[in-house]
Amino acid sequence: MSQISVRRGLYQHRRFSIFHGSDPVLTTAVALLLIIGTLLVYAATRDWYARNGLDPQFYLKRHVINIAIGTLLAYGTTLIDYRLLRAYIPIFWGLGVLGLIIVLIPGLGTSINGARAWISLPGGFQIQPAELAKIAIIVGMSMLLSERSHDSNKPETSDLLQALVIAAIPVLLIIRQPDMGTAFIISASVITIIAVSGASSRWVIGLLILAILVAVVATKTGVISQYQLNRLQTFVDPTADTQGTGYQLRQARIAIGSGGLIGKGLFNGPQTNGRFVPEQQTDFIFTVAGEELGFLGGGLIIFLYLLILMRAFAIARRTSDPFGRLVTTGIIGWFAFQIFENIGMTLGLMPMTGVPLPFISYGGSSMFATLIGFGLLQNVHARSKG
């Protein structure tokens, strides 16, 4: 316990900074990732845009704006005690579900890469409600599983069922899009929350089995579109398709592999500048890091993520508030599985899905959501002293 008291002293010393009570390691790691991400987005788009007579800083500018808005959202998230947010959770969740319903309505939702996941707004902006639904699910479930009227160590079965309903409604809507990557990440996050909530291992194992069953049934019954199935098949046999999904995955792997230890140098990746890897500023941004920054750069990114996750685990352990712990746990599951799915896809460890890389990929909704998640982590941290 002496360690904790030392830390308390440390934070009391920082009372006067803006992010007073925030975790500086966490903040530094996220800031570094945002800087790396900005460079990578620019590197991914600069050459190609310039060569095609477009503004080479098109994506750079938008990305910086996204980060600015996301940082404000994160800062805003830290201002109010997260425990006071509970009152707004039903509204927040309801808006998320509404958004997910809207994308499925023809004419309102926009389909990209086979998934009907976006709502187009005037001015060329698009919102991906699933990103914001992640937060709604995590916070909603955490609230239900932590608010117990009794002193039992275990959540009641009814609590668990309610929590699952809160998760299941948006997840089913996301599967309808279909966006299997996001559905996978949310499911992983849900199971993480339930496991840490103190529920019996039967629940955890049961849910894991259920998730696998749903995946199998979805593949067999055609809920998953042919497009998604192709992506899954090329994961199993990358040579099956030479121009479509398999082509993308092979190009991604060649870009990363050719980077070697120190990479080709920022802005100097021929595979990137030749635009051989598609969607490189969003889902395949890690290939830019792999090619231009090499194993050192790619390894640094993974290390920074590991650092963030370790800090988050520390926060989850330190807090005495069960709600804060479950929110933190949910965010850990979300970030970890999203990182693993995205980088794993570019490395050929995971099937191809359209999942962005937290703090790095270009894309407003994802940037806002992950930065809000970061804000929530800092919020729990700042108020963990009790």
């Binding site: 840490v196 103190g198 870009a255 030749g274 635009r275 051989f276 090499g294 599951g333 970890a336 693993f340």
Partner: protein, 696 residues
């Protein structure tokens, strides 16, 4: 936090750390362990090599006159990248172009497809180069047509006219030399696969036959490479390397264009003379060599073809004519690939055999009209008895029966059909001492080995044919079932593995199964002329860089020495001189001012021609000159050309006339091909513009 939650959190943490470590491990595997593999893969995706061919080295004669050079042609090229961008993929453009050039659209289409784009079996004529270089449709366009294309560039997007280097065999003073020079052509898939241990660039041309293939690694040079980095849309983003081409080295040969042209003419005339005398005269060969060092001064084969047809674009008809039996297979180089019975020219071997067997070369012998060997009668040529005379005279008048006698006696002495364990085999050994079965080692591809029908040959022949002759009735065709052939088959079955009396007798006059290439016979007569040295025969003399530095000199090697005493060789040289002075060669060389030594040969050939006629005799004349101080060996052979003297002998005389500058039985001063009496030793200055020396 309760215990269960604490434990769950730890499990989740371990799981997540493992996932991150897995990512790191996989990243390490891809970038560090597999890095080189992916780097290569990336390079092949991003980079495009544009090859600019090197100027091929010249092939020149011993005084520097070009036999092969590079000409500028006007090529009409199609840029695949440009025409593929057309809405119809260039169909209209190519159709317009084929009308203008009077070509078939289907051919133009095929010529512009990469081989991999076409289904197997329809790839003939496909482009073996890369998509990034202009593909030539013709290399010899009419300048007016080219101008039309360039001026109407909007009508012909992606089509260009540009000068291009084409290999050219200029045929100075009418020289052909197609079989010696060979030709160049595109690379095959086999070449490209690196199976031959060489690495090529797709668009390179390489030597396909003759000197062009043998000295290809020198002549070819190193092509220039521009490596372009392209993007996904194949647009060029940058240039990575740019190495200029390095021109190929020149090949200096020992040939002389004027002598080569004269040799070709003399051979063609000999063939026509044979035909005029009623013989089939289907083909022939002639060789002129330096007896002192084995260098070939001229080498001709008839029939021949235009060596430029390959660069012009071989038509199907031209290609099939090259190998057509009706046209006597012009592609075949008779001088080094043709095998013929040497007939009486082989008596030089028999002289050495008789000497080693102890026969007195200066004694007199009988030349009866025929000799009974077992049950068969072996007749003298034209069945004439020549009476008793010296062995020298026997050579001069080409008596056969004296050699039958000696060969038969020696055969009996060696045990006949039940040979001694260690037979003398004087005849076989005399032939072997000429390195008879070894190739002459000429620097030209596909030289045939001459065949010596000795005891070992008979044994291996029997192993291969025993089944056929011992089951003749079942194996042979109806047409082969004549009483004579059935009898022969029976004999072959019984003792086909043995040298029989008839074989020994035939061997002594160069008939039977012993066959020789014209080159080999030239090498043998050169050895007699130079006193016994068997030289490797070569056409190439030196490889010279474009700046004049000598890269390599090729010196023919001494392959062996004739095992005959000086007296025997002297006797033989006297006898060969006698052939021309008072023998079978006298008529052909009547009044010739330079002393020539040689031997006629008229070989009987079994079998029938395509039109059913019996095959005519092979006409030979093998010689060297000047007789007192031999410098040159000249051999001519005309297949089915009739008598040795009248067909080939006269042909050889014609060659000597050019060689020594003889006109009307007189030596014209300064008119000899080599005024010093010997081929040049100094290497010439090399220029495509060098002209042959004009004789006064």
């Amino acid at each position: 936090m309760n215990q269960r939650s604490r434990l769950s959190l730890l499990v989740v943490q371990i799981l997540i750390v493992s996932l991150m470590v897995a990512l790191l491990g996989r990243l390490f595997y891809l970038q560090i362990a597999m890095g080189p593999t992916y780097r290569d893969a990336a390079l092949s995706i991003q980079s495009r090599d544009v090859v600019s061919p090197a100027t091929r080295g010249l092939i020149v004669d011993s005084s520097g006159v070009p036999l092969a050079l590079n000409k500028v042609g006007l090529a009409i090229t199609i840029d695949r990248i440009a025409i593929d961008k057309q809405p119809d993929k260039g169909v209209a453009v190519m159709a317009r172009l084929s009308r203008l050039l009077k070509l078939q659209y289907a051919n133009v289409y095929r010529n512009t497809r990469l081989c991999g784009e076409l289904p197997t079996g329809q790839r003939a004529g496909c482009w073996t180069g890369s998509r990034y270089q202009p593909i030539p449709i013709t290399k010899s366009a009419d300048p007016d047509v080219a101008l039309q294309i360039v001026e109407n560039s909007d009508q012909f997007p992606g089509i260009d006219a540009q000068p291009i280097a084409i290999r050219n065999y200029p045929g100075t003073v009418g020289v052909n030399a197609a079989h010696v020079l060979g030709y160049v052509g595109p690379l095959t898939e086999e070449d490209l696969s690196g199976e031959n241990g060489k690495n090529f660039f797709r668009s390179e041309s390489i030597g396909k036959s003759g000197l062009e293939i043998v000295y290809d690694s020198f002549l070819r040079g190193i092509p220039g490479i521009r490596t372009l980095i392209v993007d996904r849309k194949e647009a060029i983003t940058s240039q990575r390397q740019n190495t200029p081409p390095v021109a190929g080295d020149h090949l200096v040969t020992s040939l002389d264009v004027r002598l080569q042209a004269a040799t070709e003419t003399a051979l063609a005339d000999a063939v026509l003379r044979g035909r005029a005398n009623g013989y089939t005269s289907d083909s022939g060969a002639a060789v002129v060599m330096d007896v002192r060092n084995g260098q070939i001064l001229a080498i001709a084969s008839y029939p021949t073809y235009d060596p430029n047809i390959f660069e012009k674009g071989l038509t199907v008809a031209q290609a099939s004519d090259l190998f057509s039996e009706k046209k006597a297979v012009p592609a075949l180089s008779r001088a080094l690939q043709g095998l013929y019975a040497p007939a009486s020219t082989f008596k030089s071997v028999s002289v050495i055999a008789a000497a080693s067997a102890g026969y007195n070369l200066n004694a007199s012998y009988k030349c009866p009209s025929e000799l009974q060997v077992g049950t068969r009668l072996f007749q003298n040529f034209e069945s004439k008895s020549q009476g008793t005379m010296s062995l020298k005279k026997m050579i001069a008048v080409s008596c056969d029966t004296v050699w039958y006698r000696i060969a038969f006696d020696e055969w009996l002495r060696d045990g006949g059909l039940s040979p001694k364990s260690n037979p003398n085999d004087y005849f076989f050994k005399a032939a072997a001492s000429f390195n008879f079965t070894q190739k002459v080692g000429v620097d030209l591809p596909s030289e045939s080995s001459s065949r010596l029908a000795n005891r070992a040959y008979k044994k291996s022949w029997y192993q291969q044919n025993k089944d056929f002759y011992c089951n003749y009735k079942e194996r042979a065709t109806k047409a082969q079932q004549t009483p004579f052939l059935i009898l022969l088959a029976k004999e072959n079955c019984v003792d086909g593995d043995k040298v029989r009396a008839g074989d020994a007798v035939n061997f002594s006059i160069g008939q039977g199964e012993t066959v020789v290439t014209p080159l080999k016979l030239a090498q043998m007569y050169a050895a007699i002329g130079n006193g016994g040295t068997i030289w490797q025969m070569m056409v190439g003399k030196a490889i010279v860089k474009t700046d004049g530095t000598v890269v390599k000199t090729m010196k023919p090697e001494k392959l062996g020495t004739l095992s005959a005493s000086k007296e025997t060789i002297d006797f033989l040289r006297g006898a060969l001189r006698e052939v021309v002075v008072a023998g079978t060669g006298t008529g052909a060389f009547a009044g010739f001012p330079i002393p020539i030594s040689g031997k006629t040969g008229t070989a009987e050939v079994f079998g029938r021609n395509l039109n059913g006629s019996l095959k005519d005799n092979t006409s030979w004349f093998a010689s060297y000159a000047p007789s007192n101080k031999p410098r040159y060996a000249v051999v001519m052979m005309v297949s089915q050309g009739g008598f040795g003297a009248s067909t080939s002998g006269v042909g050889v005389r014609n060659i000597y006339e050019t060689l020594f500058g003889v006109k009307g039985n007189k030596v014209v001063p300064g008119a000899a091909i080599f005024p010093d009496g010997k081929p040049p030793i100094k290497l010439p200055k090399i220029s495509p513009a060098t002209k042959p020396r004009v004789a006064p």
